[in-house]
């Protein structure tokens, strides 16, 4: 009967209740989004920095860790030397270049990756098969769409193109054998991968025996930082960045975001709390006479507390559940907007849905809802019965 009374008091003012629930839902959605934002960027970075089991990333010294323009020469010797390290189990050289594909009335430019098909960490095959010969190529969906080429087609491509003279350089014939998901590239960006030797060959003098990045996998249990320092000592042209160091680097950059997310999350929580407190307080004030009568006829304090708190609980639970849906929808939408930011890898998510984070957010909002009932419940049970009845009779 106490539960009935609590629910009845919510249904008595439907509009007001609905507005409060909507408010709690918005606060929950905001809270959830902020929690998702806080962890999503970090986890995304981790995901694509860890790239299929490579713990070290070597880049030409003096360049930014993710710069793809700079290269170093003596690639073969460099790779061989790194592979000699007893702690190293795999070395994957990568050379960044450009690819031009002539079509009927246009030329489709794309980003070209020279990789070692046996050890590569740049893409995951999604369709077709992997590279098995020097002239076989794996591309991404955007490239297929732009060129209209189908898997299995053999086409002519070039590594250079002079738009004024309409002249190609570094031409060759390749067979498109697979479609892959390239983690490092922005959504919508066109990309293709060929064996590194093929790319070096197509590039002529410019790219002969060069590479732009080396991914290194170390033995399980190896001290990655030490291996990195050792490689740096053996070749002054490269600098090594471990996954962990990269993550720390990213983490530092993201700490601003996380603080912002934390503040906004707290604000949402406080807003939800105040909203529920306000509604429950108003509702208690409205029913103060009824509550005094209940007390006068012998309803125990605890029962009044339960009734008032139940009101806050119901509001926050419904609001939180709706907010969960709303939060996921808005996160998706915001993610799409933010992912369109030029130059961001396709695999990069700003918002990461983690069930545990969602449960935590819901838990926080619901605790707030319960907490929000405390003050009005305390007021409702400590009222002077005689005094309240007297004031109500006057009112």
């Amino acid at each position: 009967m106490i539960a009935r009374l609590a629910l009845a008091s919510l249904t008595r003012r439907r509009g007001r209740t609905a507005l409060t629930i909507a408010g709690v839902a918005v606060a929950t959605a905001m809270l959830l989004d902020m929690v998702m934002l806080g962890s999503g960027m970090r986890e995304s970075f981790r995901g694509f920095i860890e790239q299929q089991g490579f713990q070290l990333r070597l880049t030409p010294r003096g360049t930014m860790p993710f710069d793809s323009e700079a290269t170093v020469g003596g690639a073969q010797a460099l790779v061989a030397r790194i592979a000699e390290d007893p702690e190293v189990v795999a070395v994957a050289p990568v050379l960044g270049a450009k690819l031009f594909t002539p079509r009927a009335d246009s030329v489709v430019p794309a980003f070209l990756l020279g990789i070692d098909p046996a050890v590569q960490g740049d893409y995951v095959l999604a369709e077709g098969r992997d590279i098995a010969a020097p002239d076989e190529m794996v591309v991404n969906g955007a490239w297929l769409e732009a060129t209209g080429v189908r898997l299995g087609d053999t086409i002519r491509v070039a590594s250079g193109y002079d738009a004024q003279l309409r002249r190609f350089s570094g031409e060759g014939s390749v067979r498109v054998v697979g479609r892959g998901r390239f983690m490092m590239l922005a959504g919508g960006e066109k990309v293709a991968a060929l064996p590194i030797a093929t790319v070096q060959g197509m590039g002529g003098e410019d790219l002969r025996d060069r590479l732009s990045v080396v991914l290194v996998a170390t033995r399980a249990g190896a001290d990655v930082e030490t291996v990195g320092r050792r490689i740096e000592a053996s070749d002054a042209r490269v600098s090594a960045l471990s996954t962990e160091a990269a993550l720390r680097f990213v983490d530092e950059r993201l700490s601003y975001f996380r603080q912002l997310a934390f503040i906004l999350a707290s604000v949402s929580l406080i807003t939800g709390f105040l909203l529920v407190t306000t509604l429950v307080t108003v509702s208690v004030n409205e029913r103060i006479g009824e509550i005094a009568v209940m007390r006068a006829i012998g309803v125990a304090r605890e029962r009044i507390v339960v009734q008032v708190m139940l009101e806050g609980l119901v509001l926050s639970v419904i609001g939180a559940v709706l907010g969960l849906g709303l939060g996921i929808v808005t996160a998706k939408w915001l993610n799409e907007i933010l992912s369109a930011f030029p130059g961001l890898p396709a695999a990069f998510d700003f918002f990461l849905f983690e069930p545990s984070a969602a449960v935590r957010s819901l838990g926080l909002i619901i605790s707030c809802g319960i907490g929000a009932g405390l003050w009005p419940a305390w007021r409702a049970t400590t009222l002077s019965i005689a005094q309240t009845l007297r004031e109500e009779a006057v009112a």
């Binding site: 009967m1 009935r4 009374l5 009845a8 008091s9 249904t11 008595r12 006479g289 009824e290 009568v293 209940m294 007390r295 006068a296 006829i297 012998g298 309803v299 125990a300 304090r301 029962r303 002077s384 019965i385 005689a386 009845l389 007297r390 109500e392 009779a393």
Partner: protein
């Protein structure tokens, strides 16, 4: 003279309020015994302390000093939980305004104190039906307060007050908000209740209500100035 143990026994009861820093005594040294089966009407000019007295008798307010025994128990020393329990099982309250729970049906309103007393559902429902029939609302059990007239609401309130078979029924101006005819019906109901054995104390301005009571107490400035038994107790039957 009455040989039965009093239901209610007040000795030198006082209740002072602080008004603008100065104590104002609404009840000042009042002594009173009420015996089982009595129907007492407390009358007197406005502000003489009638409601204050009734609130003390019903344990919803505490005396500043003095002793108040209800069925032999000292109300003044009870803590809140005890007093609440005492009100639930020992006292039935009828207020001037009907004060029903607007979201509950008539039957549920009557069941509320029984639910609080943890009576089994079947018993609650049966007794609510029985009580509503007793007050003449047997056909209106599912109606909500807003679907009932003022007189009907007040009768539901009486049924609610009787739910846990209290030793004492207290009513503050039970006819105060009713028109003359429904007021008369209410008086008839109280008369029937009293004849069936319910001990009643009513506070009233209503001459007719006072006339109907067996005993009329006049108050002035917080004390009893007159106490008359109009109709002596016949053989007293305990209420059903």
């Amino acid at each position: 003279m009455n040989l039965t143990q009093p239901v209610l026994s007040a000795r030198d009861l006082r209740r002072a309020y602080l008004v603008a820093g100065a104590p104002v005594e609404a009840v000042r040294g009042l002594s009173l015994d009420v015996h089982p089966g009595e129907w007492v009407a407390v009358v007197g000019p406005s502000g003489c302390g009638k409601s204050t007295l009734l609130n003390l008798l019903g344990a919803i307010d505490r005396p500043t000093s003095g002793q108040l025994l209800i069925r032999g128990r000292d109300v003044a020393v009870m803590d809140d939980a005890e007093a609440t329990r005492f009100r639930l099982t020992g006292i039935g309250f009828v207020f001037q305004r009907f004060y029903l729970m607007p979201t509950l049906s008539a039957a549920e309103n009557v069941e509320l104190p029984m639910a609080e007393a943890k009576r089994p559902r079947a018993e609650r429902e049966a007794r609510a039906k029985e009580l509503l029939t007793y007050v003449g609302l047997g056909a209106r059990t599912d109606h909500r307060p807003f679907q009932l007239s003022g007189g009907e609401q007040q009768r539901v309130a009486v049924a609610r007050a009787l739910a846990n078979r209290p030793a004492l029924l207290l009513a503050d101006e039970p006819t105060g908000e009713l028109d003359a005819r429904t007021g008369e019906e209410m008086i008839a109901l109280f008369d029937r209740l009293n004849r069936d054995g319910t001990t009643i104390v009513t506070v009233t301005h209503d001459e007719e209500l006072a006339q109907a009571a067996r005993r009329v107490i006049h108050m002035r400035d917080g004390v009893i100035v007159d106490d008359q038994v109009r109709r002596p107790l016949e053989s007293v039957a305990r209420p059903a």
